[in-house]
């Protein structure tokens, strides 16, 4: 139930009185109004999913839309607070990770039931873990726990105590349970019986998803009121961002996540109270050169691309401040490295963004025999420095960044040809034929822990983009990164892990296999009808505290 606001004539008359009393009355009325709305029910929150959810099984989630639904409906043992980035107890009252990082023991809350009334116990946790690790299910969430060959053992100590043992050490083990929504071992509804604040009520394929308040949700607020406040959440499946924006402007939806900087400015011009810039996000944009030995590119170009001085020189000639200011309208920060400053614990604060300086860039390039000849940069054999950068067509921001980089590099005599390709063609060149010279793409980090980046940094990995699937590391610095990444992955000591990963960031900074450009800010829009929202940088930006939100419509 929502309450319509009605301002009485008596209140209007008070507007003529001294400012203090006017403001005080408005604040008091507003507080009473919101409070009363909460007491009567928190209304319906509406926002858009940008694609069809691929699954409602929380163990099979791999797309954003399904992830949003899992976040709103799934009950987890521990939850990472999206604001503080710290772990908080949820269904587990407490937990303990063994020193070798192979075992985790949970003490569970009691008296909790699934949305269909089935009681929750350690059996459900054991069942969930077995399902998660079942190779036949192919759970993407389960992949993160697969640290080595062998089976995962679950031991139910009592209905409220369970320990789980993995065959090998799993770094950041407790944090991984943030993604594991517990499914019922006994409910006939299986994964549709949930422990989260909302429960699936209706789904119209290609159109909408309706979530309703879970009547059996276990949490209450400080005043003892049952959470969540909201009665329901209506999710519209809308892939077009323009339509989403128009619907927000018309008041038909209440939230927009990952808002475009251009839209942000347009909204800010008319209703600044509705837009939020939470600062740098985990997402970055970068350029890298093709260093693959068997790539079909000229040998002299491969030699350039494999030179740290060449990569560093190019990096120094790119004006990142301008990229942030012009392309993203100031809603981005020059990137330092693979880890965004938004990742509070793992970011190496000693590193600073590369300073734009064409002169320094030329000096760095001169160390490798590059020289200017009539405004054209040439290598020591006299070949003019010309290369192509490809990016995916249709991404306005990447295309603009590429044009600005082209202009920046022209100032040091480097000629860049820009090519926009459809995404499948680009991926085929990047991962199969290796027929490219440089690529400009973005990286979306969903995991704060460096273990989520193992597939990027290990030289043997398929996603080691500049030179993937190396049998043995081709350079000493890649060998060192391999060693450090493996060391941090097998350690349970957070300080040692941090030390190792800091060094990885330093090596990447020195060698510049990726030329990191910018970190986009986490922009979002929240309608004034939504109360309690506090947008953050981590997914799900605007509704991470959905159970505490209320909607009061006029």
């Amino acid at each position: 139930m929502t309450r319509r606001p009605s301002f009485s004539p008596a209140l209007s008359a008070r507007v003529q009185r001294p400012a203090f009393f006017s403001i005080a009355s408005v604040v008091i009325v507003a507080c009473l109004f919101v409070d009363s709305a909460v007491a009567q029910g928190g209304g319906e929150l509406r926002f858009c999913l940008h694609s069809e959810p691929k699954t409602f099984n929380p163990l099979l989630v791999e797309d954003d839309a399904s992830e949003s639904i899992r976040y709103l409906t799934g009950g987890v043992l521990v939850r990472m607070n999206r604001q503080t980035q710290g772990l908080e107890p949820e269904l587990a009252q407490s937990w303990e990770v063994s020193k070798d990082s192979r075992q985790i023991a949970f003490k569970l809350r009691t008296g909790i039931a699934f949305s269909d009334g089935t009681p929750f116990s350690a059996e459900d946790v054991a069942y969930t873990v077995q399902q998660l690790m079942d190779p036949a299910l192919h759970s993407p969430t389960g992949d993160a726990f697969r640290s080595g060959p062998g089976n995962v053992e679950t031991k139910i100590i009592s209905p409220s105590q369970i320990s789980i043992t993995f065959p090998a050490a799993v770094a950041g083990l407790d944090r991984l349970f943030d993604q594991v929504a517990i499914v019922s071992a006994h409910s006939p509804k299986k994964e549709m019986a949930v422990l989260g604040p909302f429960v699936m009520a209706d789904y119209k394929a290609g159109s909408s998803v309706l979530l309703k308040r879970n009547p059996n949700y276990w949490k209450s607020d400080a005043q003892g009121r049952k959470l969540p406040y909201l009665d329901s959440i209506a999710l519209e499946i809308q892939p077009t961002r323009d339509v989403e924006m128009l619907r927000f402007k018309r008041g038909e939806i209440d939230l927009i996540n990952a808002l475009d900087s251009e839209y942000y400015d347009k909204l800010a011009a008319t209703s600044p109270q509705q837009v939020h810039d939470a600062g740098p996000s985990l997402d970055g944009e970068e350029v890298w050169f093709n260093e693959v030995a068997k790539a079909p590119i000229q040998a002299y170009k491969r030699a350039w691309f494999r030179s740290a001085n060449f990569r560093k020189g190019i990096s120094q000639a790119i004006n990142r401040e301008d990229l942030s200011r012009v392309v993203f309208h100031g809603h981005a920060q020059p990137a330092v490295g693979a880890v965004s400053p938004a990742n509070k614990f793992w970011f190496n604060a000693k590193l600073k963004p590369e300073v734009y300086s064409p002169d320094t860039a030329l000096k760095t390039l001169q160390a490798d025999g590059f020289h200017m000849d009539n405004g054209v940069l040439k290598d020591r054999d006299g070949s003019a420095v010309v290369f192509s950068i490809i990016t995916n067509s249709g991404n306005k921001y990447r295309e603009q960044m590429a044009v600005m980089i082209q202009d920046d590099l022209q100032k040091i005599g480097v000629h860049v040809n820009l090519v926009t390709l459809d995404f499948p063609s680009l991926i085929a060149r990047m991962t199969q034929t290796f027929d490219y010279e440089a690529i400009l793409l973005g990286v979306t980090n969903v995991d704060l822990d460096p273990n989520g980046e193992m597939n990027l940094w290990l030289s043997s990995s398929e996603n080691h983009q500049w030179n993937p699937q190396q049998k043995t590391p081709e350079t000493p610095w890649e060998a060192e990164i391999d060693k450090l990444m493996r060391a941090q992955a097998s350690s349970a000591d957070a300080a040692k892990r941090k030390e190792a990963f800091d060094r990885v960031q330093e090596i990447v900074y020195e060698q510049a296999p990726f030329i990191f450009l910018i970190n986009k800010n986490a922009l979002s829009a929240v309608s004034t009808v939504v109360h309690g929202a506090s947008p953050v940088i981590l997914h799900p930006q605007t509704f991470w505290n959905a159970e505490q939100l209320t909607v009061v419509r006029k």
Binding site: Y263, V326, F387, S393, Q406, D407, N417, L418, V419, T420
Partner: protein, 269 residues
């Protein structure tokens, strides 16, 4: 020629003339980035404002017009010549050859060109200069745009082949290609002329569509296609009306072509 057609011709010539004078009218060029004035509204320094990375929109419209308006006729010429060879000869020779040529034409007409163009762009070498990309784009349009014209020309050539004056020429001993060049081809000229002129606006619009897909003319070179990309995501006409100038120019030029072509279309029909 009617007064309207004369006026249309004059205006078209004016547009071409102004675009050819781009070097004098916009000496800073189309690629210079005024980054401190990115996304600026029209001013004395930038008559149509600047684009999102600070390039002078007026300069880009002039240079883009030059590229689109000069290369579209070249592509139209190429496609008309191909249509004349494929359609005209097939219609004249007739029989199995005509059926074969028309089958190939039908096959070309039924192909999903958008996806084929994406594929063609994907397999092209990456290190292509912007000027080369312009030439490749319009060449592709010319090489792929001959099919509809070929069908019209085939039909016309078939009619001419059985005309009395051709029968008379054949009776007087003229045979083969000599008969085609002396008696058939001159009578195909009005249709060829009309097809050529009709293809020009079609290719201008095609390039604009390719540009929107990121497949046309490479940056930093402008074309009407790349200029129209700016309209993506624009939620209100009144917001930044100067951004509509390339679109208005495109509509005006295509309309002018229609005025100029009205007579030729009648001939073609």
């Amino acid at each position: 020629m009617t007064a309207w057609r004369k006026l249309a011709c004059l205006l078209l010539l004016l547009v071409v003339g102004v675009s050819l004078a781009a070097n004098w009218l916009a000496p800073a060029g189309y690629a210079r980035q005024y980054r401190e004035a990115a996304g600026a509204p029209p001013s004395q320094a930038h008559w149509l404002g600047t684009d999102e990375i600070g390039r002078d929109r007026f300069a880009r419209v002039l240079y883009g017009t030059r590229i689109s308006l000069l290369l579209a006729p070249a592509a139209a010429l190429l496609s008309t010549l191909m249509a004349a060879l494929a359609g005209g000869l097939a219609g004249y020779v007739g029989g199995l050859w005509a059926r074969l040529a028309m089958a190939v034409t039908d096959l070309f007409l039924s192909l999903p060109w958008l996806f084929l163009l994406i594929t063609v762009r994907a397999v092209m070498p990456l290190n292509v200069s912007p000027m080369a990309s312009v030439l490749v784009t319009f060449s592709m349009l010319g090489l792929l745009g001959w099919t509809s014209a070929a069908r019209v020309l085939c039909s016309r050539a078939r009619t001419l082949r059985d005309a009395d004056f051709v029968t008379q020429a054949r009776a007087s001993g003229i045979r083969g290609m000599r008969l085609f060049w002396i008696h058939v081809m001159p009578n195909l000229k009005p249709v060829l002329y009309a097809q050529f002129l009709i293809s020009i606006p079609v290719f201008i619009l095609s390039e604009a569509n390719l540009g929107i897909l990121g497949l046309g003319v490479a940056e930093p070179m402008p074309s009407w296609g790349s200029l129209l990309k700016e309209l993506e995501g624009l939620t209100s006409i009144s917001e930044e009306p100067w951004k509509f100038v390339p679109l208005i120019l495109l509509v005006v030029v295509v309309t002018l072509f229609q005025f100029v072509l009205s007579r030729q279309e009648e001939v073609a029909a």
